[in-house]
């Protein structure tokens, strides 16, 4: 067992819990300031985009905008699937199917 890793996990657990209980501790009586609410509103969109885009455009660590990039092609189809169905399972199956199929074709 890696003790350093266990300490990291415990730290992550505390940080996460802090964000989940924080509002009830801090904003319980005053209510959430409107300006903060407006700023935090965009955090999920910003984070999700920052997670998705490099995974699709640079799957091997360098910028790859070409038909040889199966993640990019699958990502475009998956984005449409996600938009139309809003279903995680369908989107994962469609996207992974395309990645596997394209990788087979290219080998």
């Amino acid at each position: 067992m890696n003790l350093k890793l266990i300490f990291i996990i415990i730290g992550m657990a505390l940080a996460t819990f802090l964000t989940r209980i924080g509002s009830q501790v801090v904003f319980a009586r005053t209510g959430m300031p409107v300006w903060l609410e407006k700023w935090l509103k965009h955090v999920p969109t910003a984070f999700l985009t920052a997670l998705i885009v490099p995974a699709l455009l640079m799957p091997r660590g360098y910028l790859d905008i070409s038909f040889g990039n199966s993640y990019l092609l699958a990502g475009i189809v998956a984005a449409f699937t996600a938009y139309k169905t809003k279903n995680v399972l369908v989107t994962i199956v469609v996207g992974m199917g395309i990645v596997i199929a394209l990788n087979r074709l290219m080998i």
Partner: protein
């Protein structure tokens, strides 16, 4: 309606469990592949089955767990960097907690802590949906949280155990499950001009950051830059009206 923990746990409402199951099952289909991927990715990054399962039990936050796995496997093992990143990723919970506060503050402290621990995107979404339809129910939120927690922890464990039987998970395209899941969460958010600009700024910053910054720091760079952009745009639109 001051309710204490012992009373609540000794008097489970059996009727509400059917509603909990009915609402949770479709979401489980999205959580299980996520949890399996977490177990598989943790294992491929060098975590033992115990370590990655313990992470799911203690942290219970998908995006932050994936981020920490990515950071650790790319060589960032600083306690402060990973814990701070976790905090940043989960900052959105402050807002979710604030919107549930009117209902949670009527409960006893131990119950508030338990419900806060179990408040993830999915349980929050279901609870808010229940409030809008039929009103707040303590047992409903407890049930949904417990169901999602058990699903998350056991699917992480299965993924980590199953990992040894897969020669190379990347050939399965399993690493695509992550961006695919995030896409389902992202697409409905891009409903207005501000959200689209935030998305575009984040995409450009993420790519340039990934090219020029070490490790996974591009994510924090992109998220902070795009969030500030969104805040400025919101302020601008408020001034106009």
């Amino acid at each position: 309606m001051e309710k204490d923990l012992t009373h609540t746990l000794q008097n489970p409402d059996t009727v509400i469990w059917k509603e909990v199951l009915r609402d949770c099952l479709p979401i489980t289909a999205g959580v299980i592949p996520f949890g399996l991927t977490c177990g598989i990715m943790g294992s491929s990054a060098g975590f033992s089955t115990f370590e990655i399962t313990f992470m799911s039990m203690a942290v219970f936050a998908g995006a932050a767990q994936f981020m920490s796995i990515a950071m650790i496997s790319s060589g960032i093992t600083s306690w402060g960097a990973i814990v701070f990143t976790t905090f940043l990723i989960n900052l959105r919970h402050l807002l979710m907690g604030a919107s549930l506060s009117p209902y949670l503050l009527k409960l006893s402290r131990p119950l508030q802590y338990i419900l806060a621990f179990g408040m993830v995107d999915e349980s929050y979404a279901l609870t808010i949906n229940r409030i809008e339809k039929k009103g707040y129910d303590l047992y409903y939120q407890l049930g949904v949280s417990a169901f999602l927690y058990i699903t998350w922890v056991s699917s992480t464990f299965l993924g980590a155990s199953f990992y040894r039987n897969i020669p190379n998970p990347l050939e399965w395209g399993i690493d695509f499950a992550l961006p695919a899941t995030f896409l389902v969460l992202l697409m409905p958010r891009l409903a207005d001009r501000t959200a689209l600009i935030v998305c575009l700024v984040s995409a450009l910053c993420a790519i340039s950051g990934a090219l020029f910054l070490p490790g996974k720091w591009y994510i924090i760079f992109a998220a902070v830059a795009a969030t500030i952009t969104g805040g400025i745009l919101e302020r601008g639109s408020k001034d106009e009206s």
